[in-house]
């Protein structure tokens, strides 16, 4: 399943770091962060609980880029 989230991040490299962090989160099959449109497309693993997964994604993103935000 795929979902798109609006994000807030200041620099392009930070967006790349968020993408890496999101990809490594458990339950995420693939993630693409688009700095230009400020969107994050997340593809979830089958049977993953998207809400819980997105919480973990946000936590991991905050770790690499303190200033970021994901609007869940």
């Amino acid at each position: 399943m795929k979902k798109t989230y609006r994000i807030e991040v200041d620099c392009a490299n930070c967006a790349n770091k968020m993408q890496e962090a999101a990809k490594k989160t458990e339950g995420v099959k693939d993630a693409v962060v688009n700095f230009m449109t400020l969107k994050m497309n997340v593809e979830f693993e089958d049977g993953a609980d998207e809400k819980a997964v997105m919480k973990a994604v946000l936590k991991n993103c905050k770790k690499v880029e303190d200033d970021c935000e994901i609007y869940l």
């Binding site: 620099c11 392009a12 790349n16 890496e20 969107k39 770790k63």
Partner: protein
């Protein structure tokens, strides 16, 4: 500017003023005997004003084990520079403050430029309607487009966007389709015409019966496509984000080596270590290590390129397609609907015993009750008045009372009495059946022979018309460096041959079934040179398998055709074939800018690293290289938005 940006601007101005003030005071009071650490503490004020958030983020980064975070690197570099000034008693604190200041100016510029182009491009695609004037029980109210059911009646006033696809049931107007097609000529519409959401109603009030839900309407499909377009990343984008991942750590390791190795070697060789000098050079390295200029300029270029293309009526589904499109070597195209109009029109009247116009009038009346497409094209030609010599006489019309005893003769044509005369209109077989000798036509197309009262009166040639811009389109493809252009068509060989020679295309494959087209494209894919891509252009209706088989599938005239929007990688909103070459041109321009930025940004950084290692570049130069490169790269990237003269 956003609130955040304004606050940053204020901090930059404040810090600059403080810095200059302190520096001037220091100059004036140089003999006064004010000693350290007074100056150190004074300079600390602007430094903290401009850099406190960087230091804070750096601290958090360490806690989260993000060592190669650019905040951390900037913090190390500037704190290091201050420490050297303090320990070395040079008193040169201004450098560290300035580096932090310029770094922040660069960040502010980047965020402003990106925000601005983000807004510009979204404004280009501002076709989302906010409301629909829904007519219910004789009353009109503003409704959310989402809640309008198919089959409802909506009212569109001049100046409003058509919110949902539908058919006009009342009124006539002109529509501005430029937001969708890039075509500036307004389109006239009348009762019974289909209208597409996203067009702007210009002159009259119309009532539209909606045919779909908002979510299924053209405007929603297009917005969805554009919004998701830059998620498909190109190879250059992936390259640059990989590069950034290794670049920063590599420069940091380089900096560490530069700080430690030369002094140690120097010590071993019995010379003084000169720690201060080498550590300073290492700190210069750290200033250059931020990859942001590189990382921002590439996606920004693609974003601007895709935005510019959509302004020209070309929707590109992802930056990877833009990249592939720029390498186009072979263009294969469908004929009907792509190079030709795909509708049948009267293209000539020959061997007529009477005036062409009169023959057409008789034929149109004889065919007036037929629903056959050929009959319709004869009627259209008559009603359009295209074959009239004297345009001043009254408007042609078909009057049913002039026609009696109409009889369709099984697949051969029509027999009818028009103005009391026996008229036959149909193919050769019909003529032979009534013992009339038809004159054969040497043109390619469908021939309708006409006989009046048993005498042959001439024939009407009906054929698919080549689009007026097709020839120019082929010429432009050649000029754009496309080495082969191939026409694939299901039509008869002589028809295809005629169109191809008219357009100046040498390669044609005719009489292909849809499956054969796929085979042909696969053969062309094998024949193409390495590094080239094969583009297939079709009108999208029955070309879906070929569109997806080719490297790039371009669907044209796709307004309202869901299947085409699904299957293709690039969608031309109107059916102008010149846009094929234009989209290749836009892609090439975009890729040129991408490569310029990659080479320029990496080049300047590497140069600065070398100069820095040799001690020929100080921290000032490093920060200018970093911020300057970013500013130039961003400005260059925005160039991709301008596609008018591509």
């Amino acid at each position: 500017m956003s609130k955040k940006q304004k606050r940053m601007l204020f901090r930059i101005i404040l810090a600059s003023a403080l810095l200059i003030g302190i520096r001037v005071t220091q100059k004036l009071l140089s003999d006064s005997g004010i000693k350290e650490p007074v100056w150190f503490l004074l300079y600390l004020i602007p430094y903290l004003v401009i850099g406190y958030d960087i230091l804070k983020k750096a601290g958090k980064g360490i806690l989260n084990r993000q060592v190669f975070d650019e905040n951390f690197l900037m913090a190390i570099a500037t704190v290091g520079a201050i420490a050297i000034a303090l320990i070395g008693k040079t008193g040169d604190y201004i450098e560290a403050v300035a580096v932090m200041l310029f770094y922040q100016i660069g960040e502010l510029f980047q965020s402003y430029a990106v925000g601005k182009s983000r807004r510009n491009i979204s404004a280009l695609m501002d076709i989302r309607p906010d409301y629909a004037n829904l007519e219910e029980n004789g009353e009109v109210r503003k409704a959310d487009p989402d809640e309008v059911a198919p089959g409802s009646i909506i009212l569109v006033k001049p100046g409003e966007k058509i919110p949902i696809d539908g058919t006009i049931v009342e009124g006539r107007t002109t529509l501005n389709t430029s937001a969708l097609t890039g075509e500036s000529i307004p389109r006239e519409v009348n009762i019974g015409d289909e209208v597409i959401s996203g067009c702007i109603n210009m002159t009259g009030v119309i009532r539209v019966k909606t045919s779909r839900e908002f979510g299924e309407s053209t405007v929603s499909k297009i917005l969805e496509l554009v919004e998701n377009s830059s998620s498909r990343k190109s190879r250059s984008e992936n390259f640059i984000s990989k590069f950034a991942k290794y670049y920063t750590p590599a420069v940091c390791i380089g900096a560490l080596a530069l700080a430690v190795l030369p002094p140690v070697i120097s010590l071993i060789m019995g010379n003084p270590a000169a720690w201060g000098r080498w550590i300073y050079r290492a700190l210069t390295f750290l200033v250059i290590s931020c990859p942001c200029a590189l990382v921002i300029s590439i996606p920004l270029t693609f974003f601007a390129g895709i935005g510019g293309a959509s302004r020209a009526g070309i929707l590109v589904k992802g930056s990877n397609y833009l990249e592939q499109l720029s390498k186009t070597g072979i263009v294969a195209m469908d004929k009907t609907g792509t190079m030709t109009k795909g509708v049948f029109e009267v293209s000539g009247i020959h061997h007529s015993l009477m005036e062409d116009e009169k023959l057409l009038e008789i034929a149109a009346h004889a065919e007036s009750f037929s629903t056959h497409p050929i009959a319709k094209s004869i009627r259209d030609a008559y009603l359009s008045g295209r074959f009239r010599k004297d345009a001043s006489c009254e408007k042609p019309e078909i009057r049913a009372e002039r026609v009696t005893s109409v009889e369709e003769i099984g697949g051969n044509g029509i027999s009818a009495v028009v103005d009391g005369k026996q008229v036959l209109a149909g193919n050769t077989k019909l003529m032979e059946r009534f013992g009339i000798e038809p004159i054969a036509c040497h043109h390619v197309g469908t021939i309708v022979h006409v006989a009046v009262d048993g005498t042959y009166a001439g024939h009407i040639l009906i054929s698919d018309m080549v689009k007026p811009t097709s020839k120019e389109a082929i010429r432009k493809l050649g000029a754009a460096g496309v080495s082969r252009t191939v026409v694939l068509t299901g039509d008869a060989a002589n028809v295809a041959q005629k169109v191809a020679s008219e357009l100046g295309i040498s390669e044609i494959r005719a009489e292909l079934m849809p499956a054969d087209k796929v085979t042909e494209v696969e053969r062309l894919l094998r024949e193409k040179k390495n590094g080239e891509t094969l583009v297939f252009v079709g009108d999208g209706i029955n070309d879906a398998p070929v569109l997806s088989r080719a490297d790039i599938g371009i669907a044209m005239g796709a307004l309202g055709s869901d299947a085409a929007i699904e299957a293709a990688d690039v969608v031309l909103m109107d059916d102008d074939p010149v846009k094929i070459a234009k989209s290749i041109g836009i892609a090439r321009k975009c890729m040129r800018i991408v490569y310029e930025n990659i080479v320029f940004a990496i080049g300047v950084k590497v140069l600065c690293l070398i100069l820095g290692a040799l001690g020929m570049a100080n921290m000032w130069m490093a920060i200018f290289a970093d911020v300057g490169v970013m500013v130039l790269a961003v400005l260059n990237a925005i160039r991709a938005l301008f596609v008018k003269r591509v």
